[in-house]
Symmetry: D2
Subunit: 427 residues, 4 copies
């Protein structure tokens, strides 16, 4: 077998495959912020598995823990039976993450993917309130199964459902088409007006920074306003922190700077630490009214993921990582500001915060061109937004200065090449 | 930390947890058909992770392949980028499983869980046909996200949705309330009668043996009849082989003995070999009309699972395993027949086939009592059916004769104890 | 203006028009069982406005009452304000119809059409039970608005909705594909089995004789069985007596011979007596939990219809009409039996009961040919069934012997002509 | 029988009755703008059957036409068969209404109520476009059957559905929470943004003046903007003119001043002239793609209503009525402005236009108090708005100056009494 080309995927894998079209190489080895393909080409990773690899690839400490666990024949798959690995994770997560942040949540393992935690959160909010409607927000992305897709904004993804998507209403996200106050007023008026046609919702579901939707970062004021609307009306607040959580914005939970206290939190992607499938649904104890087994799933007990996840929590025992992410975030911001000034052809504006920043290009197709050129320069990076109008920097949050520098240099080279090429074409 | 008790789970994990209530022990080590808890107690596993551990726990060959892959820093998480591990799996799956069975499918990785593959199958069938309705069958179980739950029969699980479940119609499964011919006629009449109120469906979705629904095994005649109904009317046939597939019934796919050729096949659970999350959706090439990225998910590229899955396929290079499963299945059948005769108090009748057999007890609560007593005897086993009326034998398909014997002996001890206890109570 | 042709309708009316295509004449005058078109051609009416003209056209007594009411400037339109005409109707309906039959219902005026009463009944049943699912039956017809259409069987009508129709499940009507006991068992099993996928319903809705669905008449045994299923499980029983009620089957309510006591009864069509729009929803007092105005509509207070309806109730003060209908029904049955024997080419079988009988022809298109020929012979008659396979006799229940004779003669002439013509074609 | 009290309604009619609670009298006679109860008390009608009696009660010319038609035994009920009365109506409607306004519509008779025409319009728009979503607007009211209720804003009415209402999205009506431009931009952004979560709609449905929703009158600019949004995106524009049409705002169609050309127009209420049930759906010929009978109903052929409706059209042969309505509308406006100045305690602001004006009172319960006092003064008048915050003047458009004066005087007396009473209570 020769795996140096993509023909095997073209022949045997479904047409639904997508990233392998944008990054046409067969990858084999990976470490921290680097990947190598079968021809030995090296790539810098500013993609991080769409946020599932916040600690980079194959983190050495987690790797050793995993190998030891496998070697000892620790139980691998345990459904939702009790296991030592799970107990250790629950205890560490409570001690290292929840308690120091004054958060009191019961932890549910809803199945190992982001869409599973969202589906479980929606079910529970509907059960708690006895209402069916859920408010989601423009450009929100919450998953691909029917429940989660119903609260997702993207038209192309929605179309794929094959059935009308119901039981949800979209409201404008912060700064969607007005300032923060206007957006909050809009929501309030629709909820409070008995003639608005918007049924009283069970919950609001939102991301504090919308990863897929174009790196839209909500202001603290908006998040606080939304929480207040919920509190005053008995509506549950669900924060989907699947992509923005686990340190990507500079704090463990993305909502910490806003000082809000969600009723339900959805976590997945990087919570597993090593890229292994794991998801959590955090629930305020008073809302944990599930009957046993009312939601379940086969892969709730992915013990290798518990082992890696527990090892990953070591990073949060002090504030070293947080501080590092916050400092490097400024570097990224500065770099992107420089880019928009130096290359006005981008017609660029900065989006996002922390380690989920990028540039929205007001030129059709340009962000995609930048991502394509970046790949040619050995940088892996994707676009976001309903029209793929944003190129998106998602380095591992553990990346060192040299690695970040290297990636940013490659990105500038890609931007330069894109702008030049465009120039040749249009002139 | 002391993990010898369950208090940590009671304090920190959601009320939704279920198996840990039926099997109150904290498990740590596992190998093949055995598990050990933290106190060193040994258990025989007749549960197999609800069908996710058909090859038992921590299979040594797969383990070595996994450790080697981890050690070499093979890429762990790759979304749907091309990777060497994925290429090897695709090629092996095609060469070892599909080609020898004259099956021509494109493989889709829909996200790593059973409910993901079901959701993707329903979406695709609706896209292909332009219809919204899907026919499912009584006591079918297909998953817990809204799309999959809509085609699931269990009232308790459905109730958990919190919204009405729509876009689906339930028809009687084989032998539900009549003989095979009657059940097929029923389906035909509802589909063909323009006054029946049943809209022309995009697809039928069914399990050949219903695992959760009570070990109902469809006859070949019924499966062929269902396929014929689909073919004649342009309806897609989706076989959900998540639980019954990967050798559990004695052949790789559960539908092989019936000689049918489904349009879409859902696989998960044991396809990953080692209990790691993995799912496949197999699609006839002519129906593989997905647009790139129309369905996606973060954990589609679980490379350790590809590595273990590829290693697991070695079992299927010749018919040794198949023959062994088929022979041992007879032993199980014989044993269960003996039990119903020896213990008429069970009011038992045999259910299922292959390594998914059990006894339906026509006495309320009795099957649950047997499972409970079995746990006391060191045997892990669950119940099935809408009223938990069936106790269910799900040993690993790789179990050796001694292991099977051991488990069956423990089971008989449990049955005896249950019957006796009941006797004392009722007399 | 010349109205002797249909061009004005072709030019100005929507393509949705239908009966004017089957009965291509411009009608002007009508009296009792006769109509005349603009050219003075006389027609016998075996159609009765699809059951809205049980007392024939322009009944003289009702006409005088109407003219008097108009002349006196009695209030015409009163929404749901109290009016003398409405009070008189309520009192008469209670005294003449309900009390003598030991029925205790509150009367609701839900808007003047059949689909309005059905929608109100479904809303109320859902409110009373807190459940969303409603069980309807194969070949049931309940109306064309989305709520009523969701419980209607006809595929063509359903397709017209333009959205998937949900919140309902179809079950087999009596003798649909088995004997009465088998059909009842089927329903019971689906309702009682917690794994069937059929959610516990708020209500059953059914017609005792299905008018549009092909003149299927339920047996008393089936109706009693259905009522029992409802009673034992707290499910509401809604009888849609819009077409079969008001004497058409020989008793005022079609369900009287079965001795059942529905929770909600839907009446429209002939309840207005003179063909004026009126509908009632009869509700057991204990279920009359509507909030004021929770269901409303502009034409609930159609006072001319109250006036005619009250006059029509005079027919029910003794059993003269009932006896007459029952006797003439036998004549119709005898005639139809004769027809099937005399014209075996019809491959006919008798359907329905009372003044809603007909012949199902097991030859494609034949029933429609008979209706077409009948029109040529001056007899107005329509077909029923999902494939229009039944020709349907719907004379006014007040028709005299001569009129009935006349109509039957014309029908036989039409049958003879149809059979002959077919003969010529096929030989 | 003594009908001087309401006990008969309390005993025999459903709790759902509402207007008879606000207007506790048993009405018997009515003429033009006056009603009399059984005790002979006279009332001025500023309610007009919620817009169904634009020509007042028992208009003498229509009455004579009706009596003549009845006397001649003209056909009363004809389903959708061709009749002389219907032909005459179609021709007159085309000649007198459509042609002079350069409107080219096919006329559909969808069943005789407002909710029927709305349901038919929604079905057709979905059929034409192949889309399921429909955009409705805040505080819109379109009917009480499930399809129409799904596009209705009122929370209390929606709740009554008993099922979640889907397949629709509410957008802000003109001036809902911003100026006209802001509201149009909002709609545009949600429709055009592929990430908004609002699926491309089949149609917009709206009232130009919202009767039930609180007498909100859209500006011409907004209506034109909405039409432009529809045209540019292939969305159908449905104007629900059931309440605002047939002269109530001063022109036959309410949308004439805006110069827009809707794709579908819904008419009912006053189109029947005399308060008899009748509804029309007007369809641009290119969208009249109904299959025969795809939507139907029993009372589509209400010939007495055709007769009265044709007689009513005489009013539109010249512009006398239009001019009179427009002049009297100014009087009403002036009167209401006076009231808000003279009685600042009302905290009143003017709403609506033409003969559908009123005052919104920013004091809880005050508008209802005014309506109650008005009744005591012999004036029949209702409230509107989600909180019943508007008292609403709906005189017949044919009212003479003396009648209008009389009504306004009674209204002022009611306002004065309300304000005084409130004063006593609060001081």
């Amino acid at each position: 077998m020769n795996f140096n080309d993509l023909s095997i995927f073209e022949n045997l894998e479904s047409e639904v495959r997508s990233y392998c079209r944008g990054f046409p190489a067969v990858f084999h080895k990976a470490k921290d912020h680097k990947l190598w393909d079968l021809d030995g080409n090296e790539y810098v990773d500013f993609f991080s598995g769409a946020g599932a690899l916040n600690y980079g690839h194959n983190n050495e400490k987690m790797k050793q823990a995993l190998i030891q666990y496998l070697t000892e024949d620790g139980i691998t798959h345990s459904l939702d039976m009790a296991s030592k690995a799970k107990a250790e994770f629950l205890q560490s997560f409570n001690d290292i993450i929840l308690k120091p942040r004054n958060l009191d949540y019961k932890t549910m393992f809803p199945g190992p993917t982001g869409t599973n935690t969202v589906e479980s959160a929606l079910k529970l909010a509907r059960k708690v309130t006895g209402r069916t409607n859920v408010i989601s927000f423009t450009n929100g992305f919450h998953g691909m199964t029917i429940g989660a897709l119903s609260v997702t904004g993207n038209a192309f993804k929605r179309q794929g459902a094959g059935i009308p998507l119901n039981h949800s209403v979209t409201m404008p996200y912060d700064a969607y088409n007005g300032d923060t106050k206007a957006q909050l007023d809009y929501v309030k008026q629709f909820i409070d007006d008995n003639g608005s046609g918007v049924d009283m919702p069970a919950a609001f579901i939102l991301e504090t920074v919308q990863g897929e939707g174009g790196l839209n970062a909500a202001s603290n004021e908006w998040l606080q306003g939304i929480e207040k609307i919920c509190r005053e009306r008995g509506i549950l607040l669900i924060i989907d922190d699947v992509q923005a959580g686990v340190g990507r914005t500079g704090t463990f939970f993305s909502f910490e700077p806003a000082g809000i206290n969600p009723d339900i939190v959805c976590l997945s992607k990087s919570i597993g630490g090593y890229g292994l499938p794991l998801a959590l649904t955090l629930i305020k104890p008073e809302y944990d009214i599930w009957a046993p087994g009312e939601h379940n799933g086969t892969f709730r007990g992915n013990n290798p993921a518990f082992v890696a996840a527990t090892a990953a929590l070591e990073y949060w025992k002090d504030d070293t990582l947080e501080k590092s992410v916050q400092e490097k975030s400024k570097k990224i911001t500065n770099f992107l500001q420089d880019m928009t000034k130096k290359y006005p052809e981008l017609r660029g504006s900065l989006k996002g915060r922390g380690f989920m920043q990028g540039i929205a290009c007001d030129v059709e197709g340009l962000a995609e061109d930048v991502a394509e050129k970046a790949f040619e320069k050995g940088l892996i990076m994707e676009t976001a937004g309903a029209e793929d109008e944003v190129f998106k920097l998602f380095p591992p949050i553990t990346i060192d200065d040299a690695g970040l520098e290297d990636g940013l240099n490659r990105l500038e080279a890609a931007i330069e090449a894109t702008v030049k090429q465009k120039d040749l074409v249009t002139s």
